[in-house]
């Protein structure tokens, strides 16, 4: 049995000079072809066995018919062909044959000696045997990438051609920014589907405490039962996440050299994204100023406002609806700026698919959402509330440990009234927590009695609640019974004993006993509507005053 001579693949040989500078004309699907020797094309050589050989074809005075010679060697079964000479004579039909034969055809413009390639082959084989080839491959191609310029699609397409796999660049919310243009392996819809799966898996891993800041491989299974693995390369710069470079390994052959190339392209994509972000930040500053003026009525005429909005392609000639979202207990969060940025990005991503014009901005620790071109109808309030619910559910998937509350302003038909709707939404958000619990969705019209209470003098409010609840407060302080909370939840749950018991983690009989005790202490009958109203209002005021409204 013949011993296999030492070899390397075509891809591996291209890690080092002189082949590193060569151009791939075609047949890159055969990049795993093995090379153990280098030969120069001679008339009699074509007939011999060229398996595992890199064939050098020179365009010089001795070679009269270069195209014919190339055709011959493309059918010779060689591992790869290196053409030394001007690339202009390499016709597309030759590249097509190389693709068909899966035989890499490389081209170099400058003269090369066979001996140089033999030395390179030996060096690559030695490095490969010592497992050190990957060290040399890392970041060796940055100069070539820099030559492409700052346009993302050619950069990603070049990587996709090299890897023979589709490449997608996404933002931190996994919204596709750019992707390789070749759609033969995965079409646009499939890419979006797989990107959603990556996002889902990513957040699931984060939820269980895995910090995914290093590149990792993710196994994806779609609804049709098919599975694809995806290489996820996070793009981190100065501790800030700019996005992810996703490579869907459709061909199932990503090797360490490919990973090196992904890292290089990732580094270059990061540079492009950083540059874009600088421009976006400047633009955002102007947008934020404009939106501040809009929300605080700081403009001369409605027409001037509509005119200014056209700079960003926003149509403010039609009615707008405003919603405000805020993380509960924001002041307790240590990373609140990062949290708000993440919230803004994801809310924008979620709504962009649903509405034609959506503006999402951060104002004083709250995420303001302005949705354009809306109509007021009977079901409008319910529609915005259900949108708030879907937003909360979406954000809960991404940020599991924080709840979010939503405030909704009233509908106004003109853009000039948006400032009023904004203040109303803020009120609904702030005062809603006295009606409902954390993670509430409150429309301004639902605030009810709280709206009136918020305008009364604090002394009057204090006198009112003390008149009704002073006995109970004193009893709670002495005996640590927390009857006030029981009464508040009881009213919050519309007097439903089972729901109240569930909320308070108490048995229904315990709750009945506690309510009876409250009735005794207050000398009142909770079945009487008038008493219920008075006590319910007193409870609301007590809660408002406790939170220092």
């Amino acid at each position: 049995m013949n011993k296999m001579p030492p070899f390397c693949t075509v891809q591996e040989l291209m890690v080092l000079d002189p082949l590193r500078q060569s151009t791939i004309v075609g047949g890159w699907a055969g990049r795993e072809n093995q090379i153990s020797q280098v030969v120069t094309a001679l008339p009699q050589l074509a007939a011999s066995d060229l398996t595992n050989s890199l064939v050098i074809i020179r365009q010089d005075s001795q070679m009269q018919n270069a195209e014919g010679t190339l055709r011959t060697y493309l059918h010779s079964g060689a591992a790869a062909i290196l053409f030394i000479g001007p690339e202009t004579i390499l016709l597309p039909c030759l590249a097509a044959i190389a693709e068909e034969q899966q035989m890499p055809m490389l081209a170099v413009g400058k003269p090369l000696e066979e001996q140089d390639l033999v030395f390179a082959l030996e060096l690559v084989i030695t490095l490969k045997q010592g497992n050190r080839l990957v060290d040399f491959a890392e970041y060796s191609d940055l100069n070539q990438l820099a030559a492409i310029g700052t346009d993302l699609p050619p950069l990603l397409t070049k990587l996709a051609v090299y890897l023979q796999n589709p490449v997608v660049l996404v933002n931190p919310a996994f919204h596709i920014i750019s992707s390789s243009t070749d759609e033969t392996l995965l079409d646009h819809i499939e890419r979006e589907q797989f990107t959603r799966l990556v996002r889902f898996q990513h957040y699931r891993c984060k939820a269980v405490g895995e910090f995914l800041t290093n590149p990792y491989r993710s196994k994806l299974e779609n609804s049709n039962g098919g599975s694809v693995s995806c290489w996820v390369n996070p793009l981190l710069g100065d501790g800030q996440l700019y996005g992810y470079l996703l490579v869907f390994d459709v061909s199932s052959h990503l090797n360490p050299l490919d990973i090196c190339r992904i890292k290089e392209t990732g580094l270059f994509s990061l540079q492009v994204l950083t540059h874009r972000k600088t421009i976006e930040d400047t633009e955002k500053k102007y947008q934020d100023h404009f939106l501040y003026d809009l929300l605080y009525n700081n403009f001369v005429t409605e027409e001037s406002l509509i005119q200014r909005a056209r700079h960003w392609n926003w149509d403010f000639s039609k009615p707008q609806q405003i919603l405000i979202m805020e993380p509960d207990d924001l002041h307790l969060l240590t990373n609140k700026f990062r949290m708000l940025r993440k919230l803004q990005l994801n809310v924008e991503d979620f709504l962009q698919h649903k509405y034609r014009q959506v503006i999402v901005t951060e104002q004083q620790g709250q995420i303001v959402i302005i949705i354009g071109d809306v109509n007021e109808g009977k079901t409008a309030k319910q529609h915005w509330k259900s949108l708030g619910k879907s937003l909360q559910a979406y954000m809960q998937e991404i940020i599991t440990d924080v709840t979010f509350s939503v405030g909704i302003g009233k509908f106004y038909s003109t853009i000039a009234d948006l400032c009023r709707s904004y203040q109303e939404a803020k009120h609904a958000l702030d005062l809603g927590r006295f009606i409902q619990e954390k993670g509430h969705i409150t429309h301004f019209e639902e605030l009810g009695i709280i709206r009136l209470l918020s305008h009364m003098s604090l002394e009057q409010l204090d006198d009112y609640y003390k008149e009704y609840l002073a006995v109970l407060i004193e009893y709670d302080e002495k005996n640590d019974t927390n009857f006030i909370e029981t009464l508040h939840v009881y009213f919050q749950q519309n007097g439903d004993l089972n729901l109240t018991a569930e909320k308070l983690f108490q048995h229904a009989n315990t709750l009945r006993y506690r309510l009876k005790k409250i009735e005794e202490l207050l000398e009142t009958d909770l079945k009487q509507l008038e008493n219920r109203i008075n006590l319910s209002v007193a409870c609301k005021i007590f809660k408002m005053r406790k939170t220092n409204l």
Partner: protein
């Protein structure tokens, strides 16, 4: 980070001289208006100090919300101003403001309020009330900037309505020190 100008009142320094009140009144003497007032803060018959109050240029201004004529607006530095040309004198803002900042101008029968002396502010000068405070108890601050720990949003012994997020901060007076001479 956005800017939000507001007032910082040092209760330890304020002696209740009402210099700020007089200066404000003097500035608006043509309209017979005075926007700033000094309140005595007391609890259970115990005098705690003086609090100088005018429009607090709230983060959530009620006046902007209730005014149907959209007279009120907020500048980018957080100062709430009004456009008297739009005002029809409905006075809804007076009822809505928890600090009773808007006043009726007896001459025009329209609304008028503290404008933070914005013309002086734009020239790099202090508002009249702040400039006239001889003990330096009243200052202009940007409340969005981090403040020292002794600067507080609320008073423990005197309630200020918070739901409009007023742009006022206070420094509580230090405990009085007693010096005994050894006999």
């Amino acid at each position: 980070m956005q800017k939000q100008l507001g007032f910082l009142v040092d209760l330890g320094k304020c002696v209740g001289c009402r210099g700020c009140e007089v200066a404000c009144s003097n500035k608006h003497q043509l309209d017979h208006l005075q926007y700033r007032r000094v309140m005595n803060i007391h609890k259970e018959n115990q005098m705690l100090g003086f609090l100088s109050l005018a429009c607090n240029h709230c983060i959530n201004p009620e006046c902007i919300r209730v005014c149907k004529e959209k007279c009120f607006y907020k500048r980018r530095d957080g100062v709430v101003l009004y456009n008297s040309q739009r005002c029809n004198g409905c006075q809804s803002c007076i009822g809505a403001c928890p600090f009773q900042a808007p006043k009726v101008n007896p001459r025009t029968k329209k609304i008028s309020k503290c404008d933070f002396c914005f013309k002086q502010l734009d020239q790099g000068l202090e508002p009249t009330c702040v400039a006239s405070c001889i003990v330096g108890a009243l200052q202009v601050i940007d409340i969005m900037q981090p403040a020292p720990v002794y600067v507080q949003e609320t008073l423990s012994n005197f309630s200020i309505t918070q739901f409009t997020k007023p742009s006022i901060r206070v420094i509580l007076p230090k405990k009085p020190q007693c010096f005994w001479r050894k006999g």
